[in-house]
């Protein structure tokens, strides 16, 4: 029997922390690690999601002004938070890849982009559904809505740019520059409701003061936010595994891995 390449590598790894970190920054060692983590994040996403939706739909009280329509916040707010946060993480990975030339960083950025785009789209769509009955319009070009739309376009642009360049290293570089330039949009989205007159209301939840929201509503929203976090991590890990296999398909260890999967599937 041939020795498993992944095993022999991990036995030689340095025990120091930075050694560990660099050890797992190699696609070959990260691939099985990601595989082990994915089920945990899926289970966590399901549990938080069930709890969050239960509280959101059955426990949280009706809002005094908006009636039942306010319940869109249990999806809208977490999706909006994630759309901004994922962008920051994606840009950070892209920046690390650009500065240090680590292969996995670019793959992580690429893996995060579609989930971020989904979150931005979800935020815009749910906001629009709420805006029609509450504000009286589906869409308005106020600073908050416009900057969130730009965020969605940045995600789509990043995905398109990476897909348009065949060489993965060059694709990562071009994508990284776009992602880093776009970072400037994230604080604009976040502070738009403070800096300018907007139709969109200010934040109900912030780090600097107590939330202006009933306890159970807040709990439901935070549980949904955790659910979205877990979902985003699980999806990113699944996608990065696919990207690793695709980009490293010519290497010995990927062939061994695929053969192993095949023989497992036959059993």
């Amino acid at each position: 029997m041939k020795p498993h390449p992944e095993k022999s590598l991990s036995e030689n790894s340095a025990p120091r922390f930075s050694g560990r970190l660099f050890h797992y920054s190699s696609p070959q060692t990260f691939y099985p690690l990601a595989g082990k983590m994915i089920p945990f994040f899926w289970v966590a996403a399901a549990l938080f999601g069930i709890a969050g939706l239960w509280i959101g739909f059955f426990v949280a009280p009706t809002d005094a002004q908006q009636g039942e329509a306010y319940r869109i916040i249990f999806v809208h707010v977490p999706a909006s938070w994630m759309s901004m946060f994922i962008y920051l993480v994606m840009a950070a990975w892209a920046g690390i890849g650009l500065a240090l030339g680590t292969r996995l960083s670019g793959m992580m950025a690429q893996a995060l982009a579609p989930t971020g785009a989904l979150m931005a789209a979800l935020s815009l769509a749910t906001g629009s559904l709420w805006g029609r009955p509450m504000w009286g319009t589906w869409w308005i070009w106020d600073a908050r809505l416009t900057s969130e739309l730009i965020l969605f376009f940045l995600y789509v642009g990043f995905i398109a740019l990476q897909a348009a360049i065949d060489d993965p290293r060059r694709a990562d570089k071009a994508g990284a520059i776009l992602a880093l330039v776009g970072v400037v949009n994230v604080p604009i989205i976040y502070f738009s409701v403070i800096w300018w007159n907007t139709l969109h209301q200010g934040s109900s939840v912030s780090l600097t003061r107590s939330p202006s929201m009933a306890q159970t509503m807040l709990l439901g929203m935070l549980l949904m936010a955790l659910c979205f976090w877990m979902y985003a991590i699980a999806m990113a890990l699944m996608r990065v595994r696919a990207i690793i296999l695709e980009r490293e398909r010519h290497t010995e260890w990927v062939r061994a891995e695929i053969n192993l999967e095949k023989s497992n599937a036959l059993e």
Binding site: T62, A64, I73, A99, P133, G136, N197, L199, M213
Partner: protein, 143 residues
């Protein structure tokens, strides 16, 4: 300097210059990004002449009068007031004492004819019982 550090420095420098450019651009755009102007700004002559624009403020308590499909109300920022006439369906959240944004034109007599009325929601979310308790408390203190 290692090439790796040099690259990191170039990236950091690039990010700082982008941030600076964006800050300057947004500063210059400031008034144009605002969705609406306040009644005080209208009184100060900041409203565009002969063009539709938006005014934002509170719907004055007790100012709403319905006449068939036409609604008249007063929009205020507690300093200046502007009377508004609007024909059409009002959004759910539109109420006296709450925020609203109206789009339309100001005529010679100072009446603002709105073509669109939007309700502006605040960031407070609370159950009806809590709202009731707050209203009661406010009545108590204002006496």
């Amino acid at each position: 300097m290692k090439p790796r550090h040099k690259r990191a420095a170039i990236i950091a420098g690039g990010l700082v210059s982008i941030a600076l450019a964006a800050t300057l651009a947004l500063n210059a755009l400031d008034s144009n990004i605002a969705l609406y102007i306040t009644p005080s700004e209208v009184a100060a002559g900041k409203a565009p002449q002969g063009k539709a624009f938006r005014i934002g403020g509170m719907v004055k308590d007790g100012s709403m009068v319905r006449n068939d499909m036409t609604v008249r109300f007063v929009i205020t920022d507690t300093v200046k007031e502007i009377p508004v006439a609007y024909t059409g369906i009002l959004p759910d959240l539109f109420k006296e004492g709450k925020g609203a944004v109206v789009q339309g034109k100001l005529d010679q007599s100072g009446l603002f004819t709105a073509s669109e009325v939007l309700a502006k929601h605040d960031e407070n979310y609370m159950p009806p019982e809590a709202k009731h308790a707050i209203d009661q408390a406010q009545k108590g203190t204002s006496k």
